[in-house]
């Protein structure tokens, strides 16, 4: 199972959703944002090294923490040397070993956003309940359509209680609403999934429901 977490623009909470979705699915999260990595890295080979054919994909996965992660380097030289077209094969290799993979995609409409979508069986689109964020989400949805990756779920992040039918109809997928959550923000600042900090908070429950929905969408 390979799920891409995407967004039309930055700052909507895409990496937070990717890390937590991976935790709930017991998946490896791959930080596929080659020029603006956002997930915790640490030392050792990273996705830049793997895409430059300097490291083995499976050996670059750190699986000692609460979520197994294939981190991405932060250097410009690394981003320049990485061959993003190799991402699909890398994701396939990690999936063979770990079975489930969540890809944290870059925002935007260029090939760096398109390639992780192409490498996935389905995607989750993260957005906020504002006009600008929703317009960008529509464009991200078109990009997923262009690379023929179905949209499994929309996450409306940090949204107050509201009717989401119009958004679901416009984007063409069911909506999971994530409430504003101090627990979730605090956990993310420490690079941890919310389940390790506040397993019973409302945001953690919603993320579990999101993982269940994505799981059953991909099974059917």
């Amino acid at each position: 199972m390979r799920v891409a977490v995407t967004a039309g623009k930055g700052g909507v909470g895409k990496s937070t959703v990717a890390l937590n979705l991976a935790a709930k699915l017991d998946a490896v999260v791959v930080d596929a944002d080659l020029s603006m990595a956002d997930l915790p890295a640490g030392r050792g080979p990273d996705l830049h090294d793997v895409l430059a054919d300097r490291a083995d994909p499976v050996e670059a996965v750190r699986d000692a923490g609460p979520v197994a992660i294939l981190p991405c380097g932060r250097s410009l030289a690394g981003a320049r040397a990485a061959d993003a077209t190799a991402l699909e094969a890398v994701v396939r290799a990690v999936t063979r070993r770990y079975d489930r993979v969540v890809l944290d995609c870059p925002a935007g409409m260029r090939s760096d956003a398109g390639l992780p979508l192409l490498a996935a069986d389905a995607c989750v689109l993260v957005t906020r309940p504002t006009e600008t964020a929703l317009a960008d989400a529509m464009r991200a949805r078109e990009l997923a359509r262009a690379v023929e990756t179905p949209l499994a779920r929309v996450v409306l992040n940090r949204a107050p209680s509201m009717v989401t039918d119009d958004i679901a109809a416009a984007l063409g997928a069911p909506v999971t609403r994530l409430p504003e959550s101090d627990e979730l923000a605090r956990a993310q600042r420490h690079g941890r999934p919310v389940g390790t900090v506040a397993p019973d908070c409302p945001a953690s429950d919603r993320l579990r429901a999101l993982a269940d929905a994505v799981h059953s969408a991909l099974r059917s």
Binding site: G11, G108, S111, E131, A146, V147
Partner: protein
Amino acid sequence: VPAAGWDETGFEGVVDGRRALGYATPAELADQPARIVDASPVETTTNQPSDDPTPEDVVRALGDARPPREAVSTEETSDKRDGAGQPWDAPETQSERGPPPELEAWLDDIEVRLDTADRLATAGSVEEAADAVAAVGGAADVAALDERLTADREALARVRNRCDALAGRTDRVEIPVETLARLA
């Protein structure tokens, strides 16, 4: 990623009637800029390209998103690892050309609060008003939202003044890039 049909040895493609071909090269002009090395009929039934997009298709259609070569210092860019660039470095990524995500997120937060306030302000019936208040959390939260929006208004005004001042300066400033390059 080279354009479809090209590799390091040349171009291979199907000619259906006629076909235009162009390329750029730093070499001198030549009388014979291209040479046909092979021509054979194609099996149209076996040579159909697949409809599934490939990674190369994606890069061709959307462009190479790697940082340009000029942006990468020839020395190892270890100073960039901690994000410790200089404020006058050229924008490195698409997102650095636009407002930073943190600013966008802050503006999104205000927009969400304003949308909530709009729903409270436009409730047409007692039921609608009760629903809108319940969605916020209760009467105390309505008061908190009102206070927060007052703070938002002041913060936005401060940012607007700063933006106006900086935008005015970016309009007026002119660096004599070529002159300085000659001096250096």
